[in-house]
Subunit: 295 residues, 2 copies
Amino acid sequence: MSAGVAPFERVLIAGIGLIGSSFALALRRAGVAKQIVAFDHTPAHIDEALHLGIADEAGNDPALAAGADLVVLCVPVGACGKVAAKLAPHLSEGAIVTDVGSVKQAVIRDVAPVLPPHVHFIAGHPIAGTEHSGPAAGFAELFDGRHCILTPAEGANPEAVARLQTAWEAVGSRVTIMSAEHHDRVLAITSHLPHLIAYTIVGTATDLEEHMQQEVIKYSAGGFRDFTRIAASDPVMWRDVFLNNREAVLEMLGRLHEDLGLLARAIRIGDGATLEEKFATTRAIRRGIIAAKQA
Amino acid sequence: MSAGVAPFERVLIAGIGLIGSSFALALRRAGVAKQIVAFDHTPAHIDEALHLGIADEAGNDPALAAGADLVVLCVPVGACGKVAAKLAPHLSEGAIVTDVGSVKQAVIRDVAPVLPPHVHFIAGHPIAGTEHSGPAAGFAELFDGRHCILTPAEGANPEAVARLQTAWEAVGSRVTIMSAEHHDRVLAITSHLPHLIAYTIVGTATDLEEHMQQEVIKYSAGGFRDFTRIAASDPVMWRDVFLNNREAVLEMLGRLHEDLGLLARAIRIGDGATLEEKFATTRAIRRGIIAAKQA
């Protein structure tokens, strides 16, 4: 799939967790990076990145960014601005700087002002992940067939946007371009709210009497275990998502709250017709997802 | 795993959907049923049950129950009483009658009074399923390694309970015995509440503007798709679950509601420490489920 894509000379992955290491491995698989460098502040991650062959060079020196023509911020949303500021003095003329954060407006707000004018900042978000964290959790196939959203600012350099798009396509993604504001609203319902709910329901179960907790685990196949998988995602990453997409998440939560109230009322008054009708309509959405090959 | 289990002479499966057909196929695989008979009121289900080799005989005549030493009600919780009443005049002396409903107190309330005194009614619930419905959705491996809960009434015949337990073990399940009341409370949190929430959140997405709906499907890999799978479960079955386990579900929903309020507040006031702490604790539950081999 990388046919015709000119390779990047030096790709810097800043933050070598699940997404960073998967992106590095996928770039390598596609043969579109001559050199891959990992920047991380955790010594164990640096060692793992080298040991697992994820990066050719790895360390905590921001000067590693020198000479990179692609820099990918793969740290929690709340850390993007700080990491970008560290790397900024070392960035080369014409470098493409991007990120993989689940929130786009806040990242752009934090990152864009600290970068030098001679680089191209194009925010991005691959819709892919697992509940595992750290460099060892990465795998080259993570982005295969998944969507990646880019949210370039108005006036962004079109060649740089196109170049970044080819990189994501080379690692298997399907790229869509939209505004950061629209991204944050769509992701609030497709990702942020589901995670918030999953964290909540698993937390509710954790607060039950101790013997009930054991049974919750034992009988989790009844539906609960799907929530626990989501609720096992990285706590710091998700803390930052909620803090940085507050308005859209609280709006969607408000809508959910209304709908939950209607169903609770139908249960309380024994209104089976309303329940059955609501439950029947949700099957259609599932069929849409299967048809779109995102199941 | 069926070593030493004396086969049943004639097993009647009343309602040949996902669970009914899977149980029939699993009994056959284990070689513990000489004859399997399907009772269903849907002509297409009857045809499929015969065509797919799920049952040796199939039809809508309650007299099919004659001679059965095991009768399994595999219909929605709200229909168990009615189906049991139809079969009652044809039940043989000493037959074991059970069910597979996700609610136990309501089924016992509806079924026990309509059965003749010469049969053994022992309510049951295999914690297994998929989002698919109908006879063609069934498969022999559905119960492998999964839990099955039996909730015999006080004073139930111990030989009959043991015999039913061997049947569930023969199809691959691990059997636990508990009270119907306790079952309904545990399942409210492990299964009923997760389904209610999944139905709600998918419904909330369905009510978004139309162009957003398409994007919800497109970007569902961000967490939403796990909810859509749960929310694609059989609408009538789930309507009956909520109507028949109202108190426990509304209690658990009340707890969830409180917890969601706390998280929403933490998001609103920017309290990252609370969010991170809550999210970190839920990972432990996931580890418990993986350790218990129910993931």
